[in-house]
Symmetry: C2
Subunit: 257 residues, 2 copies
């Protein structure tokens, strides 16, 4: 039996996306790799799961790598559940998701299918990391990410992660030589200033496209946005206990008549 | 001009669900109400947003209440964005989501469309509350929730909420006289033990249904699960800064060679 770690790989851009192909390539250098990823892009799916329809899974061969691969009709979170509970013959030592085509820094984490897969693995007690590159192009160049991904993944395999946490890793859109290193960060306070582009279809019915501009409201130098803007890879430990513990005392002073 | 608070109401079970009709009824007793809710059930959608397809909105009349109502083709988070950025003529004083048909306590919060709507409002800086009843039936009885909802909503209007937080409120499935009151809680540590029910379709292709059993791993008496199991309404303040601050120091000891 292999002594290599078992690594589950998934993403939200779909199993054929260049980002996941790069991630698979790196992971096969450090472990036995099983890929369970969506058969089509799932961006903006948040932490969706498929409870009212069926899931289809097919074993596929996409390149000549050493990995085993399954294409799944579900969301990124579905892929992790299916991988862990149904397809893998033992518990994975690590789950990695991405590399996402586009940023999942700061508030983007809550909309992110990439991170929902990592969180789902974390809920199952599996050390997990989501990787994203700040470049939305399908033809983005992921080369500069490779050595960082390998180093971060090996650290997680060696040290583990605190219970209830996973890592959100974002790469600046820079050449390898221009990346200054890795910064451990907190999530910046930011939001999207949305605008809805209202149009009328040929049948006279109104419809909207969601558009928006990202606004960083947080100028702390310990944030992921600062790190990315200053040429660093950002690593944010995130948790899925959402309790705002600091608010409990105040709420206990309210009177509910 | 009205001096009543402006309240945005949404949900994830769809605009005609009995749960949101009850919530609207209560909200019209304390403010001016605008409803922007999905035109069909969105359960399990997590924090999904619609970025790659169009959104349709229709003004609708569903009952004889005083509220203004819009039915939307999008997710709960889309409904909040559309309401705040496009449909409302001023900023709402409160956003309420629900009453969900089914629990959103403990780890369920991360899969919850109901809570994603409340979180979306929170990201916009609008005080927000998600309400859920621990009864998945469409014909669930929401009567016992009404006075608690009114009291909690009025407290939030009076006191506001800490920046970056929203409330996750769950009701036990009990008669009014059997509910003991309100407990401010933390999110219990729990997960789902999923099983996939594998079947074969008439064409010979395998498919899966996701099934699962909820497992509470946390026996703390300060948790939402404890409150609900002991006859209390659970109120958990939750935050969308997911940073696991307590892990940062440890991660800073790692060597990234």
């Amino acid at each position: 039996m292999s002594k290599k770690p078992l690594i589950l790989v998934t993403n939200d851009d779909g199993i054929t996306a260049p980002g996941i192909r790069t991630l698979i390539e790196v992971m096969t250098t450090i472990g036995d790799v099983v890929v369970v990823a969506p058969d089509s892009p799932q961006s903006g799916m948040g932490h969706a799961i498929t409870i009212n329809s069926t899931l289809h899974v097919e074993k596929v061969i996409i390149d000549k790598g050493l990995q085993e691969e399954y294409s799944c009709s579900g969301t990124p979170a579905d892929c992790v559940k299916l991988g862990v509970k149904q397809l893998l013959d033992r518990r994975p030592d690590l789950c990695v998701s991405g590399i996402n085509h586009g940023s999942n820094s700061s508030i983007n984490v809550i909309y992110s299918g990439t991170m929902s897969a990592a969180i789902e693995a974390g809920v199952e007690g599996i050390p997990a990391i989501g990787f994203s590159l700040c470049d939305y192009n399908w033809s983005a160049n992921f080369d500069a990410c490779k050595t960082y991904i390998k180093s971060i993944a090996k650290n997680v395999l060696d040290h583990g992660l605190d219970s209830g946490t996973v890592l959100n890793v974002n790469f600046p859109n820079l050449d390898k030589n221009d990346i200054k290193g890795i910064k451990i960060c907190r999530q910046a306070k930011a939001n999207w200033e949305e605008e809805f582009d209202k149009r009328t279809n040929p049948q006279g019915r109104d419809y909207y496209w969601l558009t928006g501009k990202f606004v960083n409201l947080d100028h702390g130098e310990d944030t992921d946005e600062w790190a990315l803007a200053n040429g660093y890879v950002s690593v944010v430990p995130i948790q899925f206990d959402l309790t705002a513990h600091q608010s409990i005392q105040q709420l206990n002073t309210w009177r509910f008549d």
